[in-house]
Point group: C2
């Protein structure tokens, strides 16, 4: 491949994670040290920053602050949820992107995100190719949902999984403290793929787990759920249930909508009473058992709890960003960096980077394999544990100041 | 004081914390090593374990497992919320307790809990005294609510404060990632005393805090709240609010009841729709602004997140348990161990134990001083930061196995 000199743009997109900045740092520091890359720009709020020519010069940042990105949650460059149109229908965004690329002699574009971001990446790559503008485009994966196709797993998922499993273990201890009955329902993110709720099975593997785990990969039957909870409650007095926010009935209707149907009725009283899936199911179960029931929604905490990040995830995220830059400089384009898993002779988990065609990844969605869900559809098999356990290993090196996180502070000097 | 030989009972009571087991470990290990204490018993589920003669022999436990109690959340011996009657009205429980004490020659009783537990402690102590049974009774403090009288602060509060401040900092990063508007309302425990919600001010001190913090120490005015949120939203597009669950209006009505009034109406549709304060306020604010609003309830996580415990808290909790035993053996009784704060010549925080009369502590309640709440009643002053910051210093030594917590596993051999 020929040598290509020019500037690069790094952007972040989609929902934040605990480690997306570790990926960005891997890309930024590698780009800053590469002689072929003349300038290292950050796009503010993802592709919107390119469209608005709203770029920052990352070479102006203090290197020590940049290093703290490894342990700083959320997207330091800002994110967006902007979806590019089909260029055959409306190519105005693409024309603008090409204009900005040309203005700054951008020859490398690194985009750090999930499914939608890989779609953005893919469209830009194809547009540049078809318009004869040489720009090497690489996707850097990120999603707590773990649903990107091809790659063994996605940066961001292991840290969320570690936080979820740890929290479920701690809630397990808490929920068993009294000699009175208690039912706890924990709502976990995951609209279509149940990887995150599945990760609560790690808590069970350690002996502090949920009695029932429900994923959106299989239909949820409310009556069967209630029956199981009542039986467990009568037997043990304690029940813990973990549910994906995306569980749905056999007609495809989200169970959370059962609750919001009620909520919309409440609107007529003058206030929007918002309540999630956990509180809806808690209400149903309370009615049937009379038990003390607590609904817990892990909410944003599960995707931003950098203080409980997996070091495996942090290092792999860094590597994915660094690899994207190295491979692009070496001539690759139109690819997403992903992971391939193997085991060494001692049986230890080994993770290697592997490149995937952007067009294969864009908009595809990887769900939890049905054979990893148990026969009664309320738990995970040992195969899932074996898959997930190595990912949560290792503790964050987060820097603390006064016992609290010291996050990266960027100057964000505008280009 | 005279030497007193005999068995001891250690019990835990009230809501669990991340470090109540560190206190228990301090008491257990000190008692096991003391020659005056002939047997070290644990009461299962607090005073109920005494009433039921349901005791375990803690000398049978593996010492390495006991040591893990320092990092194991919730009450390892089990807890209860049993309130002893006034002995002048009904002394049957006290007679039973004395019977069990005599049966096992119990001469030391250590009770690890909050306000109600100190009341229990106090009543038992007074009953033993008035019935000529020599038993030294010591209270070991515990409460995330930080509302015990006398002591500078309570074991359990610093770890909850650290978790809350850390989580608010992380949510702050997450909530600012998009260039679109967002209002986040975080509900924090604390029915009458606002110490926990106040601790979110540490996040603000670090630059990643809430715009508004509301405590139950002052009346909450819904209209003024909405006005402030709307103004901040229009100015900045982002608003974070932290509220104590116990905020109430000028008539003393809990704001959370505004929501449950609605919820009870929903009951007539056939389901109990449970929704907390955060979701109620989120609904109100959403209606006024049309903004994206997220209500987050930190729920049980704030009191059991041992993975984010303060090492200062862990060590002080251990010391409080150990001190209770040492002082009792030395002749003290009828006291609660508490803390007194000072600063060394370099200005560093120093914490010393101090004994308080149980009768002064029982049922008293310490609230956040009004002079630490700002003039507009929506934030804390620097005095509060100075008080709270040293408490959250230091990281837990929690043992991990496969990247997940390794909690103490007790055999719990019955006496």
């Amino acid at each position: 491949m020929s040598t290509l000199k020019g500037a690069c743009i790094i952007g972040q997109s989609g929902g934040p994670t605990s480690v997306i900045n570790a990926s960005a740092y891997g890309a930024i520091i590698t780009a800053l040290e590469d002689e072929n890359i003349t300038n290292v720009y950050g796009a503010c709020n993802g592709i919107r920053g390119v469209l608005d020519d709203n770029l920052i010069d990352l070479s102006q940042e203090d290197r020590d602050e940049l290093a703290l990105l490894k342990y700083t949650p959320s997207s330091a460059l800002g994110s967006c949820r902007y979806k590019l149109k089909n260029p055959d229908v409306d190519d105005s965004d693409y024309k603008r992107i090409l204009e900005v690329f040309k203005k700054h002699d951008v020859r490398y574009f690194f985009y750090n995100g999930g499914n939608d971001s890989m779609d953005t990446c893919n469209k830009i790559s194809k547009y540049c190719l078809s318009h004869g503008y040489e720009c090497r485009v690489m996707g850097i994966p990120k999603t707590i949902d773990n649903d990107l196709a091809g790659t063994d797993h996605c940066p961001g998922f292991p840290s969320a999984a570690k936080y979820i499993a740890t929290s479920v273990m701690e809630v397990y201890c808490d929920a068993r403290v009294y000699d009175t009955g208690m039912i706890t329902i924990i709502e976990i993110m995951g609209r279509n793929a149940g990887w995150l709720a599945a990760s609560s099975a790690l808590a069970g593997y350690k002996g502090y787990g949920a009695d029932l785990i429900y994923l959106p990969e299989v239909d949820f039957d409310l009556d069967s759920f209630v029956e199981k909870v009542v039986k467990l409650y009568n037997e043990n007095g304690k029940v813990i249930v973990c549910v994906s926010e995306g569980i749905h009935d056999k007609d495809g209707k989200y169970i959370s909508e059962y609750g919001s149907d009620l909520a919309s009725q409440v609107d007529s009283f003058g206030h929007a009473q918002m309540g999630g899936l956990a509180s809806y199911l808690a209400g149903v179960v309370k009615e049937k058992t009379g038990a003390k029931v607590r609904g817990i929604e892990l909410s944003l905490l599960q995707r931003c709890a950098a203080h409980c990040a997996s070091n495996t995830d942090i290092e792999e995220s860094f590597t994915s960003g660094a690899t994207a830059v190295k491979c692009a400089v070496a001539g690759e384009t139109d690819k997403m960096v992903g992971f391939e898993r193997s085991y060494d002779e001692a049986g230890n988990y080994v993770c290697k980077t592997k490149l995937f065609e952007l067009s294969d990844v864009a908009n595809a969605e990887k769900k939890v394999p049905l054979e990893w869900i148990n026969e009664t559809h309320d738990g995970l098999t040992k195969d899932f544990i074996d898959y997930c356990l190595p990912l949560v290993a290792g503790e964050t090196g987060m820097v603390k100041e006064d016992g609290l996180p010291r996050f990266a502070k960027l100057k964000k000097v505008k280009v």
